[in-house]
């Protein structure tokens, strides 16, 4: 049976900000913030686990981040995931959504045998909602975004509900497929005390004393890492800071003030005018 990969991210807990959350240079002071499993990624995991409950498919968590991100893999294991991979390498650092989705897509190919990828709609630190859809594009998978309910699952298709602005769409989609899931889709389950017992010692190889590795291996307590070198055919030019078309020039506090209401004609010319005005006001283009 094909595997399900859940994409997840460890993020600063923006619901719990106190004290020095921002550095003086205006970037996020990650060291000062507690980290959590990105909330909508938990909904993605729950969707995958529900499919597992119905079909017995294997669920694999995939995350990219520093070594500390192993925490969310363990959390996923406690909730019922079968395995997890930590993508971690200095070369990956600084990747924007484009480079990140490239790395994730390559890692999914490396894992192999995957015909369903489930991701949260967006992460609470970046709020872009870009990574999921870009991974689908790079894998050549169909995608359904903004999923609010999981209905039927068969061997070849899944039927989901999707949030439209004025209506709910019911979509039956064929595998291979990528879904992005919103918080409305489900209530993530609690971790299980039994799974905690099974996996609380699990860790990445680097943190395990050499003399204990054999036992860890035997008991399935080693959480595999994937580095640049582990992914065949990945192009260094497309990853990290270098491979990222998005460059953050500066971060400023902008207090948006309400002004006069301006109407645009809801046809192509009007939309072009709106984009032009927005660019003029809010977008700085560096040559």
């Amino acid at each position: 049976m094909s595997k399900i990969v859940v994409l997840a991210k460890q993020v600063p807990d923006t619901s719990n900000i106190r004290g020095n959350a921002m550095k003086e240079d205006g970037t996020v002071n990650r060291a000062a913030l507690p980290t959590v499993f990105n909330p909508e990624d938990l909904n993605a995991l729950e969707t995958a686990l529900e499919i597992k409950d119905r079909t017995g498919r294997e669920v694999i968590l995939l995350t990219m981040g520093p070594l500390k991100a192993v925490e969310i893999i363990k959390q996923a294991l406690y909730m019922g995931a079968d395995a997890g991979y930590l993508l971690t390498d200095k070369k990956f650092a600084g990747s924007d959504t484009w480079a990140t989705s490239y790395i994730l897509a390559e890692a999914i190919k490396k894992i192999g045998g995957v015909d369903l990828v489930v991701a949260g709609r967006q992460a609470i630190d970046g709020d872009t909602a870009q990574v999921g859809p870009q991974v689908a594009e790079k894998l050549g998978f169909d995608q359904v975004t903004y999923v609010t309910a999981l209905n039927e699952v068969t061997d070849t298709t899944v039927t989901v509900e999707r949030d439209g602005e004025f209506q709910t769409e019911v979509i039956r989609a064929r595998f291979p497929l990528l879904l992005t899931v919103t918080s409305a889709a489900n209530t993530p389950r609690y971790p299980s005390a039994r799974q905690m017992l099974r996996y609380f010692k699990a860790d990445i190889k680097e943190n395990i004393p050499a003399e204990e590795r054999a036992e860890y291996e035997r008991n399935g307590w080693i959480i595999p890492t994937l580095t640049f070198a582990d992914i065949p055919g990945i192009n260094e030019a497309h990853i990290g800071l270098k491979g990222s078309p998005t460059k953050v020039n500066a971060i400023r506090d902008i207090a948006v003030q309400g002004g006069d209401l301006k109407m645009y004609d809801p046809r192509l010319d009007g939309v072009k005018a709106l984009v032009r005005d927005l660019m003029k006001q809010y977008v700085e283009v560096q040559s």
Partner: protein, 576 residues
């Protein structure tokens, strides 16, 4: 809610963690984990590892209780369990609660892992029961029915265990202990429900009443297997499974003051097929006693959960509510009530965990004996201690729950009397705890013997060994209390009319509870300076209360003594 760790409320508080950490489970865990010799992915290899896992599991269930169960408690109370056309249904929120606790693996806390249980010490499970009860007291009555599974595990056949236990551990099966009947409440020797054997098959015939979750899939039924017998020795224990036989019907459920989420059923067995559990005639004298002791401990934990919820609600309200230009917590009359609650809760929590440890030791020696080890002497010792502390805990904690809920309403004032705040529910839920599984008065009967036999005072000699540099005064004071207590006990015993001792027994057991809690708390406060203020307050309260109780004994002694029956006769003159 979610499984995410973003939830900040958690019933696994620093306090609970602190008091649990005062309990040394080293021996217990080593035995439970086979001396750490097992291998495999779920084997624990040291005490430290076990503690790490317990801590995670406690934090997880603390999250469930605070963020999933507590917010549903009001709806559970309002809707309650329902009964229609012979079918009992839990409130929808109760179903969700049980599903979540089952899925998260907590339904078989102390059962072995081979059945899907967690194989945890009783002490850790008691802390879990306490948190579940804080979330929703009525849920404990269903969650705590694990005691039934434990009884099957201890006394059932291998085949019965394999059939029944996995379902209990996963939460797919729920159960009941069907003991009481219309004419057999506290006095279970009067049970009349018949068990009839025909061609090697047992059938049950008769009525059971006040059966918590009697509608559950599996019932342990106490029945008279020896035709024509009277008393406890004619009773045996039976396993009845509804999915295998349909000749038991639920006649009705009770409308109760509290714990609405838990259905209390009247059951009618019409020659219903059942299986004998363990040995014939051991039903009451061995199995029910074991079941009952487990249930008493669980109810004590339930009571503490209610007391904690009452305190939390009261202290929060007192911090919010302003009258006469300030928050009411600043009024001495209010903070006095809160401080009393807090001191009682913390010292009683230590008593509860210490009681659980005694039960853990009892269970451990039972396992060892089962394996053929010669542990007769320590087993006996553990049993005596557990048999004393269990009723002492239930006596202490269930009365505390009532007092705490009462004061929590008092602090809320008129608002607390309304359904708008949880304290009204807590008050109703607390009321059953000092009644079922043996009333407070019966706990006194169970505990008094250890005091009058002098065993309690022998144990208390250990006070002299407590290291108390910072608190040497407190130690001296405690030694003095014990001496006074011993002296008054001796005096009460000398009265030949045994009714007199029963008359003052409640006072004596209360003194024992206070002294035992001081004995437990003294070394804790010695080691942890941050607990000394609370201990000082408790000592003051204790001293005043002990004075009062001893004085009451003395007055009764002086006024009635041998003539205690005069009091009764005076009452009967008008009311017989």
């Amino acid at each position: 809610m979610s499984g995410a760790s973003t939830n900040k409320n958690n019933f696994y508080t620093a306090d609970r963690k602190f008091y649990l950490s005062q309990i040394d489970l080293t021996d217990i865990v080593r035995d439970l984990e086979n001396g750490y010799t097992d291998s495999g992915p779920t084997a624990l290899r040291s005490y430290e590892e076990a503690q790490r896992w317990y801590d995670m599991a406690l934090r997880n269930v603390g999250d469930i209780c605070a963020n999933f169960i507590w917010p549903r408690a009001e709806a559970v109370d309002e809707k309650g369990a329902s009964f229609r056309d012979g079918v009992v249904e839990w409130a929808p929120e109760t179903k969700e609660n049980m599903k979540v606790l089952g899925a998260a693996g907590y339904m078989g806390g102390t059962l072995p892992r081979k059945y899907g249980g967690l194989n945890m010490p009783v002490t850790v499970n008691v802390a879990i029961v306490e948190m579940v009860s804080q979330g929703d007291a009525s849920l404990m009555n269903l969650f705590g029915l694990q005691d039934i599974a434990v009884t099957v595990y201890r006394f059932g056949s291998e085949e019965q265990k394999d059939r029944v236990l996995p379902g209990f551990c996963s939460g797919e099966v729920s159960g009941s202990m069907a003991l009481t009947e219309p004419e057999a409440g506290s006095d279970l020797q009067a049970v009349t429900l018949k068990a009839i054997e025909k061609d090697g098959q047992w059938y049950l015939d008769g009525v059971k009443r006040f059966i918590t979750n009697g509608s559950g899939d599996v019932s342990l039924v106490l029945a008279r297997s020896e035709e024509g017998s009277k008393g406890g020795r004619g009773l045996s224990m039976f396993l009845y499974e509804r999915y295998r036989d349909s000749n038991m019907i639920v006649r009705r459920i009770e409308h109760k003051l509290g714990i609405h989420g838990s259905p209390t059923c009247e059951l009618q067995f019409n020659m219903a097929k059942a299986e004998l559990v363990g040995q014939r005639k051991m039903g009451l004298i061995k199995y029910v006693m074991s079941l009952m002791n487990g249930a008493r401990l669980t109810v004590s934990a339930q009571a503490l959960g209610i007391a904690q919820a009452s305190f939390d609600e009261a202290v929060r309200y007192a911090n919010e509510r302003e009258q006469f230009g300030k928050k009411i917590i600043h009024f001495p009359a209010v903070f006095q009530m809160l401080k009393k609650m807090q001191a009682e809760i913390e010292t009683s929590r230590l008593l509860l965990y210490r009681t659980s440890l005694a039960v853990d030791y009892y269970d451990m020696y039972e396992r060892k004996e089962h394996k053929g080890e010669d542990v007769k002497a320590p087993f006996k010792e553990a049993k005596v201690l557990a048999d004393f502390l269990t009723p002492l805990s239930k006596f202490t904690l269930t009365e505390l729950a009532n007092k705490a809920a009462y004061d929590a309403i008092q602090i809320h004032g008129g608002t607390g009397y309304m359904k708008d705040f949880p304290v009204e529910r807590l008050y109703r839920d607390a009321r059953i705890t000092n009644i079922y599984e043996g009333t407070t008065q019966l706990q006194v009967v169970a505990a008094i013997g250890t005091i009058t036999s002098g065993l309690f005072f022998k144990w208390m000699e250990a006070v002299k060994e407590i290291k108390a540099d910072e608190l040497s005064d407190a130690k001296k004071e405690l030694v003095r209390h014990i001496a006074r207590f011993a002296e008054v006990t001796e005096r009460m015993k000398k009265v030949e009319n045994k009714d007199f001792l029963d008359y003052v027994a409640g006072h004596l057991v209360e003194v024992a509870s206070i002294i035992y809690r001081q004995y437990l708390f003294l070394p804790v406060a010695e080691r942890h300076a941050e607990k000394r203020e609370l201990f000082k307050f408790f000592r003051n309260e204790s001293e005043a209360r002990i004075d009062h109780l001893i004085h009451q004994c003395d007055l009764a002694h002086r006024t009635y003594g041998e003539k205690i029956s005069d009091l009764k006769n005076d009452l009967l003159k008008k009311h017989e």
